[in-house]
Symmetry: C2
Subunit: 208 residues, 2 copies
């Protein structure tokens, strides 16, 4: 993608636009390096080299490798939280989860990066440890609220524990996604649909 | 662990025992290096250094990093398959899965390694790609057979697809395990018990 404002350094917005463009470039390159070599295996030098930039330029934008990792994760996780809220209010949590899956099937590399980073960062001394702990807490909390709403509206049995269901939903998605990344011939949407019906009961999904 | 036969080079079994001991040492060191830095981030040099061995000695036992990785995975995955078969024949698949979880809660580092390697190896050019693809196929196939037996014996509804349930069981365990690795304060056995009841219905687990 070319950046027109960046080529007109005389305009007011030029330097900012150029800087944002450069940052985005660095984040994209870091995404590819981290998703292949892991965070600990990747280096700022390799990321700079991939873009034909000096290490100094990269460090100017991201003073440390961990600062760059957080930017990479934030960008990978632009997880359409707003759409999820809208979908789950309209058609229930199972529908919203399926929509989320459908929005993600065309970005396996991003999902691989998140899976790899989640596993790597489960060690408590990893720079993204807190980021993932917080992310899981947030996601599970949001899903538990959506499950409770479904229970009130009769989509899911009231006898079930909403927090437990939320944890299982996140686990199912993480686990089935991993199976799909390992063997992309599987139909992840069909698999997830069946698993949601199994876990949540026959009324959780709107009639197709 | 000391190796007595290794200290008696005059005996017949000496060199073999010594070699087996050295191999086990190298596998243990590689397990720790790969589980921290990933496969791509780890190096034979680092593994040798950790043991105060020369690189040549390591290469004598494992000619390549990928040969060493396979040895590490085989050792991490000594997954008590036999116990699983016995448990599931006796008390059903849900009970067998819970016993498997119980046997694994005291080895989080090993689980972290397997989770990290599974994510990393989902890229089709990874040296452990085929190993994991095969491992998942085998595990899901074994679980599907156990689910079918439970269906015949009335523990799980016959209306359900055994292969789909097997995939969901593996996914639940991978996903809940990841949540537990990220936040070890959770009670993974209690969480898994609840999830199994949710997924498989009220008759899947024997009465406690």
């Amino acid at each position: 993608m070319s950046d027109e404002t960046a080529s007109r350094p005389g305009t007011r917005r030029g330097p900012y636009a150029k800087s944002a463009h450069r940052r985005a470039e660095i984040v994209a390159s870091a995404t590819s390096v981290f998703s292949t070599r892991g965070y600990r295996g990747g280096s700022l030098r390799e990321i700079a080299k991939q873009l034909d930039l000096s290490l100094t330029t990269v460090v100017h934008h991201f003073p440390s490798k961990s600062a760059l990792l957080v930017a990479v994760l934030e960008s990978a996780d632009s997880a359409h939280t707003d759409s999820f809220q809208v979908d789950s209010q309209k058609e229930g949590v199972a529908y919203a989860v399926l929509q989320y899956v459908r929005r993600n099937v065309d970005r396996p590399e991003m999902l691989r990066l998140l899976a790899l980073m989640a596993a790597e960062s489960s060690a408590s001394d990893h720079p993204a440890h807190e980021w993932f702990r917080h992310r899981y807490e947030l996601t599970i909390g949001m899903l538990a609220i959506a499950v409770r709403r479904d229970q009130e509206e009769g989509r899911i049995s009231n006898a079930r524990d909403s927090r437990g269901i939320a944890e299982s939903l996140v686990a199912l998605w993480d686990g089935l996604q991993l199976q799909w990344l390992i063997d992309p011939h599987r139909d992840i949407v069909a698999t997830m649909t069946a698993a949601l019906k199994d876990l949540l009961g026959p009324h959780a999904l709107p009639d197709a």
